[in-house]
């Protein structure tokens, strides 16, 4: 489907990444992730043809992208970028209709096929009820879905998305990722998206392109996790990835105080979290013991009703 051979990317003489040999298959949902400045956007922009590769080749369905005309490229790639669309007086329908651009005549008039495709795309992102709303009247999450609908209407085998979940709140971030997951299954398209949402990427991606300054690690999320590649790429002294569930855990500053926590979950879990956050270490041999039982905490033989109160007592 999409393949890069010895691809060097960068700006002018400054190479950001070199010798990239990547490939993507149909129906893949690929998350491109890595620290800021390692070249995620540059790679996406290069794949999208918005900038030229410094060296190497990108082929899609066996054809070299550099040799394609603008028109041919627009029938193979569609884009969802971080560029804000702040045009006034543009409705969701108008925006999605622009996705039909490569297929309409010189006047840009929409045929019945175009209209059907537009309606289908809007439906796929669950925005049918907002079809005729202006873009400045809908929420950021809906706007992002409208832009994705535009990419779908463009009817390309490949969709490239640059940080599609940036600036969105948690429910919208999850919804966009779920939407892309669903679309990649239903539409047979390949989605390549750059993201900083490690948790979401780990849970949704078919494949991760993990970028660090020295190259790209490719694999399914679980393998990359198991082999510690994530820790390598993102690792710092301030946090680490939990071996059990892959979530990132902050390495808190610790103080001299030790506490032993026993009793029922989930009360103990949240109490442990609060203690760690305040720099109190957990240890079974500690002299202070807190027991959680029936919604009440027992500390120094008195009942305490909230974690906040416990912290207050311990800190004094």
């Amino acid at each position: 489907m999409l393949r890069t051979t010895n691809l060097h990317i960068g700006y002018g003489r400054r190479s950001v990444q070199s010798d990239l040999n990547l490939h993507a298959n149909a129906r893949d949902l690929i998350c491109l992730t890595g620290t800021n400045g390692c070249g995620k956007s540059t790679l996406l922009r290069t794949l999208a043809g918005l900038q030229k590769p410094l060296k190497g080749d990108i082929t899609i369905q066996g054809k070299s992208v550099q040799k394609l005309s603008n028109y041919e490229r627009s029938t193979l790639f569609s884009l969802v970028l971080t560029d804000s669309i702040d045009t006034e007086n543009l409705t969701v329908h108008d925006l999605v209709a622009l996705g039909r651009f490569p297929y309409t005549n010189w006047a840009g008039s929409l045929s019945d096929t175009d209209e059907a495709k537009i309606a289908e795309s809007i439906n796929q992102v669950n925005l049918t009820h907002k079809t005729h709303c202006y873009l400045n009247e809908i929420s950021d999450g809906e706007k992002q879905r409208a832009v994705i609908a535009k990419a779908l209407a463009q009817d390309t085998p490949l969709v490239l998305l640059d940080e599609p979940t940036a600036h969105l709140d948690l429910p919208n971030r999850v919804e966009i990722m779920l939407l892309l997951r669903r679309l990649s299954v239903n539409t047979q398209k390949t989605f390549i998206l750059s993201t900083h949402e490690l948790d979401l990427a780990l849970q949704m991606a078919d494949k991760i392109w993990l970028m660090n300054p020295n190259g790209v690690e490719v694999g399914i999320p679980e393998d990359l996790m198991l082999t510690g590649k994530f820790q390598e790429a993102f690792g710092s002294h301030s946090f680490q990835f939990d071996e059990n569930d892959g979530h990132c855990k902050i390495n808190h500053l610790v103080g001299p105080l030790h506490v032993n926590v026993i009793g029922e979950k989930p009360a103990t879990l949240w109490l442990q979290r609060a203690l760690l956050r305040c720099g109190i270490q957990l240890s079974e041999s500690a002299s202070i013991t807190i027991e959680a039982h029936g919604g009440v905490f027992r500390l120094h033989n008195t009942d305490v009703h909230s974690i906040e109160e416990i912290l207050k007592i311990l800190m004094d």
Partner: protein
């Protein structure tokens, strides 16, 4: 795109408005004519109407439509609501041409100066020179915003040169130059019209043929490129169209402020769309009506005396822009 009946009504209304203003503009002028004069065969009336009023009203329509479309093209290219037909330095370049011509005219043969064509040609040369510079740079810069700044800078340079020339010129030619900067719709005779009309027509046609790419540009240059639009080519065509529209009209009528910036906003607000299939013809009609209206306003003082069109257009256009900005603020 979905409310065709409403748009059709608006278009019919705008066409009727333009036609009515056109007739009024012919009827009112520095000499008051009775309305029947339009149809009478009195030779004096005939002379006034056919050789003065008619070309002037036509010039108002052509110029109003042209600079407004040029403004629309610039606003779309730069995705900046404050862009206008002159941001690329067209009018400053033309002023420089005219200034060199009028203020430095001691070097030129006298016949050339007196023909009237000299003024037009020097304005065109000045405008085209600046645009060629901007065009050359447009191939080298990636961001439209940088191009905008380059255009403004060239305008500033041309403006400074004009000031230097003014400083060292004699009062008579200075007055001629200042009068040119007032703008005048009545300077276009039928002879000039034969040159102005085809040039402008080509510009308007060019704008209409690239309307699809213009719609793509609404999403910004990156998205436009993703849709298969060649940015460099579209930019080139837009600049050529603006050169033809703004350059030609400035050469013949002098600079006319603010109309080109204000009209596209009015049209987008009126039709509630940014689709160039609607806004291009809408802008032509609206621009034509507004400049006709301005021209009527210049006739307001007593007989035999008219106000400079450039001042009136600024008086009409600038408040429109302020109103738009305030309205936008209250919306968001």
């Amino acid at each position: 795109m979905n409310t065709l009946p409403k748009n059709t009504l608006l278009f019919v209304g705008l066409i009727l408005l333009t036609a009515a203003l056109f007739l009024l503009d012919i009827a009112f002028g520095s000499v008051r004519l009775p309305l029947e004069a339009l149809l009478s065969d009195n030779p004096i009336y005939h002379e006034i109407i056919v050789n003065f009023r008619l070309p002037k009203a036509l010039t108002a329509i052509i110029t109003g439509a042209s600079i407004s479309v040029a403004g629309l093209l610039m606003q779309t290219l730069f995705r900046n609501p404050l862009a206008g037909p002159y941001v690329l330095g067209v009018s400053s370049g033309a002023s420089l041409g005219v200034a060199i011509f009028l203020l430095g005219s001691s070097f030129l043969p006298i016949a050339f100066i007196q023909s009237g064509w000299g003024l037009v040609i020097s304005a065109i040369l000045g405008g085209v020179l600046v645009l060629l510079l901007v065009l050359g740079i447009s191939f080298r810069v990636r961001q439209a915003v940088s191009l905008l700044i380059v255009g403004i800078m060239f305008g500033q340079i041309a403006g400074s040169l004009v000031t230097i020339l003014q400083n060292s010129s004699n009062p008579d030619s200075l007055k001629l130059f200042v009068v040119w900067t007032f703008g005048s719709l009545s300077a276009v005779s039928w002879t000039y019209m034969q040159v102005m009309l085809p040039l402008v027509a080509v510009g308007l046609l060019l704008a209409l043929t690239i309307q699809k790419s213009l719609n793509g540009l609404l999403l910004g240059e990156n998205y436009a490129q993703g849709l298969g639009i060649s940015i460099v080519r579209t930019r080139f065509l837009i600049i050529i169209a603006v050169a033809l529209l703004a350059g030609t009209t400035t050469a013949f009528t002098g600079p006319i402020a603010f109309i080109g910036m204000a009209v596209p906003h009015l049209v987008r607000g009126l039709f509630r769309t940014s689709d160039h299939r609607i806004t291009l013809p809408g802008t032509m009609l609206c621009g034509a009506s507004l400049l006709l209206l301005c021209d009527l306003a210049t006739q307001l003082p007593a007989d035999g005396y008219t106000l400079p069109i450039n001042a009136i257009s600024a008086l009409v256009g600038a408040p429109i822009i302020i109103w738009i900005i305030l309205k936008k603020k209250s919306n968001s």
